[in-house]
């Protein structure tokens, strides 16, 4: 056992234990850590906002490179903050209209391409029984079709339609189960990471393997 001499490590251990104390019940230690992380991350965000955002994207182009046109998006951005003043809250509608209109216009064809056509392309691949992969392609095709039918609520799920929708539910359940299992393992590995931090980094106890 070799205790860490770093103050930072012990601060991190204390805060880790503060958060883990929530497993017993909500308590002042957890609340302290919770509020502290909010403050620290907002402060961190403010610093990054300035150093990596407003400084290179507005201050430098506007004041040093003479790109005075940047005053327009700056004014539009300030208009969004007018939501804080009830009397002038309506001013926020113009930048919001610009942002939403442009992003919807940009998103429409790109979503069609990436979210619909690419997905369909990936589903319509060679199928058959000559190769194992071709059989799995059939399984995927049947799954995509049946889940889509399950989500089609304009027609009552009865008869053949209902039967196909039922197959879709099976696919969804297996998919949700797999996602759940995957998420649990990701969270558990995070937890193991925190435990190892306390045991190995702070207490200096080496765990075999």
């Amino acid at each position: 056992m070799h205790l860490s001499p770093s103050i930072g490590v012990w601060v991190a251990v204390f805060l880790t234990l503060c958060v883990l104390s929530f497993l017993y019940k909500d308590n002042p230690f957890y609340k302290f850590a919770e509020h502290l992380v909010v403050g620290v991350s907002v402060g961190y965000g403010m610093v990054l906002w300035y150093t990596q955002g407003i400084l290179p994207k507005f201050i430098t182009p506007f004041f040093k490179e003479g790109k005075y046109i940047y005053i327009v998006p700056a004014i539009l951005g300030i208009m969004i903050t007018m939501q804080l003043v009830r009397k002038y809250a309506w001013l926020a509608r113009f930048p919001m209209a610009f942002l939403l209109g442009a992003s919807s216009g940009i998103g429409l064809p790109r979503t069609m391409q990436a979210g619909v056509i690419k997905q369909l392309e990936a589903t319509m691949v060679p199928m058959g029984f000559s190769r194992l992969q071709y059989i799995w392609n059939i399984v995927i095709f049947v799954g995509v079709l049946s889940v889509l039918i399950y989500f089609f609520f304009s027609k009552e799920h009865k008869g053949v339609f209902g039967g196909i929708a039922n197959i879709g539910i099976w696919y969804l359940m297996i998919g949700f189960g797999a996602t759940f299992g995957y998420t649990v393992m990701a969270r558990l590995s995070l937890f193991i990471g925190r435990v190892l931090f306390i045991i190995q980094t702070a207490l200096g106890i080496q765990v075999a393997g």
Binding site: A33, V38, K57, G181
Partner: protein, 217 residues
């Protein structure tokens, strides 16, 4: 009325058409229109972030001012913000300074532990959700169990049958579940999400969806 309601809708329509058409025009001028949005959108977003900063400061300030329940913790939040800013001003944002020290030893451990806490709550949620009350719920349970076992070494070690039937060890079955039925379900969901996003975009451009205007006149 025109200024407050129709004009924003008109701006949305015109911007939606311009940037929607831009995608189909392979020309440097069209690319310039696209970069114009990315540059301007970023600057607008940066200034709009002030709204978020002011909101959270105001929220905690009001809690302290009115001595709301647990207001003492709001003091912690309000104090931590300037501490980070002062640390950045005095020691810079490079590693080795007080700013990155606070990030590495305060923010990172708390956030990582908070995320890891979810493992316990997911486990308790699983107890409620995974009780195999129907065949379909059992499918969810079995898929989750196989994927979980497939991600750890013990999954391969207990697959004693895999010598007799190659390709059927738990990690391989877990991989198949993730790549075949799971992918089919995800792909169908993604298709639905894609179509939904397109519909919402169209509704915004055409002025059918106008909640962003707020409830006032």
């Amino acid at each position: 009325m025109f200024l407050k309601r129709q004009l924003p809708l008109l701006i949305t329509l015109v911007c939606g058409i311009i940037w929607g058409v831009q995608y189909f025009i392979p020309h440097p001028a069209s690319e310039a229109v696209y970069s114009f949005y990315t540059d301007w959108g970023l600057v607008i977003g940066l200034f709009a972030s002030i709204l978020g900063f002011v909101s959270i400061i105001r929220l905690h300030y009001m809690k302290v001012r009115h001595h709301a329940k647990n207001w003492q913790f709001s003091v912690v939040t309000l104090s931590a913000m300037p501490v980070m800013i002062v640390a950045a001003i005095l020691t810079g944002t490079e590693s080795g300074g007080a700013f990155m020290w606070l990030y590495n030893y305060v923010e990172v451990p708390i956030e990582a532990t908070m995320f890891s806490l979810l493992a316990f709550y997911i486990a308790s949620a699983a107890y409620r959700a995974f009780r195999a009350r129907s065949a379909q719920a059992a499918a969810l349970l079995v898929a989750a169990a196989i994927v979980m076992l497939g991600r750890v070494p013990v999954g391969a070690q207990i697959s004693f049958w895999s010598h007799l039937f190659p390709g059927t060890s738990i990690p391989q079955i877990a991989s198949w579940i993730l790549n075949v039925p799971n992918m089919a379900a995800k792909r169908a969901i993604n298709l639905g999400v894609g179509l939904g996003m397109m519909m919402v975009s169209l509704k915004i451009i055409l002025g059918i969806e106008r909640t962003y205007l707020g409830g006032q006149e």
